[in-house]
Subunit: 392 residues, 2 copies
């Protein structure tokens, strides 16, 4: 029924190469930029520390004055404890070291007698003194364009007195649920033959999780003109995800509509479930047409929408979170298809969920993850160790 089933990896590569990350950035306060991506190189405008800093608790001294000091032959220095300017002065870790001093003697190597300090060790110049700019030099690159900003980076930005930074704007992803049988949630209970809209809701939450801004549209019925109108209404979006209507039946108009408005790159993919997935471009913006069957739709989201959203957002194509587990029962593969088997994790075992049908969303909800069986593998045997992709 499908003219051609495209290999999953090839489809993904072909699709991801066909568009570019979003342009445009926004200036935001550093407190709000955790997880955002720097859209500029950021250089420090100051030295850190901006003063000569004691690296230890002790006394700031002139190193030359300690010459000859030893554990049995202390040198006596006058302290400024009583207010008079002296030749040694008490400092704490992080304190300012006065200009006349060039070293710090550790407190453990001193004994204080009123205004006099016995120093029991000889120190060389710069000992225990952090120089200006030792941590970060003025003009130094501190955040590189494209860097994913973390709380520790924000602390560094704060320490060099930067309070705003340019980050890439998040891609806006329009989500269009379709289907004659699909009714909006909440308004009234669905009648026989009707189901609540849930794919769009799920997709919105994944888009948000993956770094995009979801824009969920109202349900569109299986009418090519209505679908076309909906797509044209979101022409400002950076990406479009359409749920449903992707197969080859009488009511499946989505791929043809995408083709009429842009380019249909792929229709029919070697993933199971998820075969009816279509991928396209409209105005050089990526379009993922996910099957309406919830599990198939979810696999399509994971496999194609996740890396697409991340690419648009300038995020690296992060691998899935994976745990190793031992398969508790054989799971069959499907020749020519990358098979996503739902499994539950229990005491280090991956337990396949006995379920058929891409329509059974509860099988995903019961699952902790997928075991992915490659195209050329007949199945994976009981007792074999597998990588389990955690469903996030």
């Amino acid at each position: 029924m499908f003219r051609k089933i495209t290999n999953a990896d090839q489809a993904k590569e072909f699709f991801l190469k066909a568009f570019r990350p979003v342009e445009g950035s926004e200036l935001i306060t550093i407190e709000n930029c955790d997880g955002r991506i720097a859209a500029e190189d950021v250089f420090s405008q100051v030295d850190v520390p901006h003063y000569r800093r004691a690296a230890m608790d002790g006394f700031a001294v002139r190193a030359a004055d300690t010459m000859g000091a030893g554990s049995n032959s202390p040198v006596l220095l006058r302290s400024d404890k009583d207010g008079e300017k002296g030749i040694c002065t008490r400092v704490h870790t992080g304190s300012h070291v006065p200009d006349w001093a060039d070293a710090v003697v550790m407190i453990e190597d001193t004994v204080v007698h009123g205004g006099t300090v016995e120093v029991f060790t000889q120190v060389h110049p710069f000992k225990n003194v952090g120089e200006i700019g030792e941590d970060i030099r003025k003009g130094e690159l501190i955040i590189q364009n494209g860097h994913v900003i973390r709380p520790c980076d924000i602390a560094v930005l704060a320490s060099v007195r930067i309070d705003k930074i340019n980050v890439f704007r998040k891609p806006v992803v329009a989500i269009i649920p379709t289907g004659e049988e699909v009714v909006p949630r909440g308004s009234r209970n669905p009648e026989a033959g009707e189901v609540y809209e849930t794919n769009g809701l799920m997709t919105s939450l994944y888009v948000k999780k993956w770094g995009g801004i979801p824009r969920l549209l109202d349900v569109v019925t299986d009418d090519p003109e209505k679908i076309k109108e909906a797509i044209q209404r979101v022409s400002g979006a950076d990406m479009i995800i359409i749920s449903g209507g992707t197969s080859v039946g009488k009511r499946d108009h989505v791929p043809a509509v995408v083709e009429s408005l842009g380019t249909l790159l792929v229709h029919g993919v070697g993933i199971s479930p998820g075969k009816p997935t279509a991928l396209g471009l409209i105005n050089v913006k990526p379009v993922v047409c996910m099957p309406g069957y919830p599990v198939a739709g979810m696999v399509a989201l994971y496999y194609f929408a996740r890396p697409a959203v991340r690419k648009l957002a300038h995020l690296p194509d992060e691998p899935y979170r994976v745990v190793r587990a031992v398969l508790s029962e054989k799971i069959p593969g499907r020749t020519g298809y990358k098979t996503f088997a739902r499994v539950k994790l229990k005491n280090g075992k991956a337990i396949p969920l006995a379920t058929s049908g891409a329509g059974i969303l509860s099988s995903v909800s019961k699952a902790d993850g997928f075991v992915i069986i490659p195209e050329n593998v007949e199945g994976i045997g009981k007792g074999e160790e597998v990588d389990m992709v955690l469903i996030e």
Copy 2:
């Protein structure tokens, strides 16, 4: 100078056992519960599907009427296409199967001539019909107490018409930055001997990332009474993190204050950097005293505050995100200490950052992760494969 250095793993285990997850939940709309933890078992109040559902495009029939049909001997059925009640009726995947029908013949096995349908295959009862409750049965458990809710779970909740769910409230974590030399950001440029407050800011962002609600207090100077007042002011919090003043110097009052208000469990931990970390309890609520030195403080956060916040939040103690890499240069360990070496990741190589000093926050910002060297290991050699903990 420390009376005793406690082994890192033992300190962590001892600390985490000393308190319990937060009590109390809140009812929130399902759209907002991604990543939250169910505080109740949730059962479906409806069957899914709530009607008999066609699993294929085709015609709903009485199975008995197709007896004897084959590819050369079609059975003729009257269709209700023109409105009259017939004995077969057109259905689409997901359509309602009428009460009088008990099977669906696939469209591929039929030929339509006006009001008559030729059926070229025999079907048994229930063929291609999804029964009521096939996906989820009324009364079935769909979300278990303690489950971390994901977008796919939210789709299931939506499909059973649930729009709100009880989730555990997030733990409130009070963060108290201390230090005579620490000044609030932004007000004015720091003078010699002063630094901007950044540890509290960084801690707040990590607490949020790890599932807590941060409450960042104003900087408190190194005065035991002032520190005590600050702690008493946040007695409603579920956890307290205090930055700075944890060592054994003249200005280090934090551990003693914690001891005076509750229990000091540990002071001095076998992590490097991070030795001056202290852990305690005040009113059975966990207190992490992190060193003021930014890198040491960050290691203490990662090692103790992260699992503590997650435990309070009812989240499982998720392992760190780890990548395998080959070490480009030897890194030394430190006997008795779990050493956190900062490394940069480049082409599969972990490159140690040439830096000393727990004060150099920029070394963390430049790092992609930590390589953790166990207590009993002298060091890790060049070319060895290591697990690199990604800094999040």
